[in-house]
């Protein structure tokens, strides 16, 4: 069991509602792991538990072998867990490039601890590169609060990448993106180096099957299935999970 990230017996309750019950998850180094399930299954909740914005009632989270359960979001991000949010979160009054720059700073500061002037330059270079890769260069100087919904989503993905994560948590990154942008996103994710692991929450199943090597299916806060895309695609269990979520 050499998981990069392992979550054991995670349980989250909101009053009488069990959002997650004894969920186990293991993401290996460089894995492309998808988390799918009907609405309200607990996918976002699980991501926030991993990102430390929700405290589980029970369960431990290990990252690179260490117990990080007691670390806050900032500390986990510095260890290499970066995320995007289901509802894009950006710094509204900062320009797009400043947004990414800010996100890049913790890692750049780390590497060049003693040249404070240099870090911002390095961060800015990173930011410009990422904007270019996402095709957002035109928007570099636009305040993020003035961006269209899909553009914000892309910007947040760039911010998460700028943190140079070892584990990237993406919450519905393709939602609201146009077909062209989804293609671009797929390319970007596919081109990520192998040492970066991705945990992807998506309803866009084509993207999931195209990108991921492992899929975990959640329903009503429990894992109902896990396997390769092919296994999941054909599993009647999974189909039922989705159908029940609807009716």
């Amino acid at each position: 069991m050499n998981c990069l990230l392992s979550a054991e017996k995670i349980s989250v309750r909101y009053g009488s509602l069990a959002a997650l019950t004894d969920v186990d998850l293991c993401v290996h180094d460089g894995q492309r792991h998808a988390l799918i399930g009907p609405n309200g299954a607990g996918k976002t909740t699980l991501l926030s538990v991993l990102g430390a914005t929700t405290r589980p009632q029970r369960g431990t989270v290990r990252f690179v072998g260490r117990d990080v359960s007691r670390l806050g979001p900032a500390a986990r991000a510095r260890r290499g867990i970066n995320r995007t949010h289901q509802r894009p979160a950006v710094f509204a009054t900062l320009t797009a490039i400043e947004n990414i720059e800010v996100a890049a700073l913790p890692r750049t500061i780390r590497r060049r601890r003693w040249s404070p002037g240099g870090t911002r330059g390095a961060a800015r270079r990173t930011a410009a590169e990422l904007l270019d890769q996402l095709g957002l260069s035109d928007l570099a100087t636009v305040p993020a609060g003035h961006l269209a919904h899909g553009q914000r989503r892309q910007l947040e993905i760039a911010m998460a990448l700028a943190g140079r994560p070892r584990l990237l948590l993406l919450d519905e990154p393709a939602a609201g993106l146009s077909a062209t942008e989804v293609g671009r996103l797929a390319e970007l994710l596919a081109a990520l180096p192998r040492q970066v692991a991705v945990l992807l929450v998506e309803h866009h199943l084509d993207l999931v099957y195209a990108l991921c090597d492992t899929v975990t299916v959640l329903r009503d806060g429990r894992t109902v299935a896990a396997g390769t895309p092919d296994e999941i695609r054909t599993s009647p269990l999974v189909r039922r999970a989705y159908a029940d979520g609807v009716s």
Partner: protein, 337 residues
């Protein structure tokens, strides 16, 4: 473009104001010079308020606390150490920073209106202490007979209103310049990012409480330095100088100047205080009425006051389709509960 024009206008106004301030001592009477010196000191406190309220997103009603700490430290301690202004400013800044550091555990975890009320409480507590610690502070009647200062070793003691004003101007300009420079570094971007979305900033691995603590202590130091200037400008201090009225007017002045703009805060706070002081002299008994009416009017004249997004500019000639639209950055920072 409109924002271009605005920026030009702002630059022109800033230059004019600066030039005016520089030549002021030679063209205005003693009264104006004295009031200007006092006003500049308060404007500097306004800068520290803006640093917290606008830039860091921690609206404060308590900057009078480090301001008072600085003033009393420089009047009581500084004058014993040395009559050199620079030393006194340093002592005052240290006192302000220390007070700010002591109150960190109260202020830093709080946000929005809660900060406002906690800082209000701190300010009131400090004023109460000042009023009751008679042996040191002279009680509610204040401290008079404070010795004059010389700006620097070897320079003469400041004896005229003009000299005191110029001294204040130089110190304020230096400190404001320092703040402006600081905000151009990544510290400024990080503070603004934290104001926009603190959780996002944490999610990127930033230690937000650390940044806020830094901003709070720095603002305390600035307010403290301003306290020392007040002592020079006024040669008298009392708890009344640091009461709730002062913090409220400073905050409103900063709002008028545009919360996130340091220069604007300086001008706004200075303007509000100057107008009030002037009104008390020329319209005895009606100052609050006029001041209140002016506040109401300002809201309507403020560039950021009226929702501009509702009024798009007239249609320009069709743009080539491959040019992305340009936008200006007129988002008004606000207080979030």
């Amino acid at each position: 473009m409109r924002d271009e024009v605005l920026r030009r206008v702002r630059a022109a106004v800033a230059t004019l104001v600066l030039a005016g301030l520089l030549v002021a001592p030679w063209v205005v009477d003693d009264y104006t010079a004295a009031i200007l010196a006092r006003t500049l000191a308060l404007g500097l406190v306004g800068v520290s308020v803006a640093l917290l309220t606008g830039v860091a997103g921690m609206p404060t009603l308590g900057q009078t606390a480090p301001y008072a700490a600085g003033a009393y430290a420089s009047a009581v301690l500084g004058s014993q150490v040395s009559d050199v202004g620079v030393v006194q400013v340093a002592v005052a800044a240290l006192a302000g920073a220390t007070l700010a550091a002591v109150t960190l555990p109260l202020v830093v975890p709080a946000r929005g209106v809660i900060v406002l009320m906690i800082t209000l409480a701190i300010g009131e507590l400090v004023v109460t202490v000042l009023g009751r610690w008679r042996s040191v502070t002279g009680g509610t009647d204040g401290l008079a007979g404070i010795a004059g200062v010389r700006p620097f070793w070897g320079l003469p003691v400041l004896a005229t209103d003009q000299a005191r004003y110029l001294y204040t101007l130089v110190v304020v300009a230096t400190l404001v310049g320092a703040v402006l420079l600081l905000l151009r570094t990544r510290a400024g971007v990080l503070l603004r990012a934290g104001r926009d979305d603190e959780m996002r900033l944490r999610a990127s691995g930033h230690r937000v409480p650390l940044y806020l603590s830094g901003a709070h202590v720095a603002a305390g130091a600035i307010a403290g330095a301003a306290g020392s200037l007040l002592v020079v400008a006024q040669q008298y201090i009392s708890p009344a100088d640091f009461g709730f009225d002062t913090s409220a007017l400073l905050l409103l002045g900063v709002v008028i100047g545009g919360t996130a703009s340091v220069g604007g805060a300086l001008v706004g706070a200075a303007l509000v205080i100057a107008v009030r002081d002037w009104l008390f002299g020329v319209l005895p008994g009606h100052a609050p009425l006029v001041l209140g009416a002016l506040f109401v009017a300002t809201v309507y004249l403020l560039p950021t006051g009226v929702t501009r997004a509702r009024r798009p500019r007239p249609v320009p000639a069709p743009r080539p389709p491959d040019v992305a639209p340009t936008r200006d950055r007129d988002a008004t920072p606000e207080l979030r509960v």
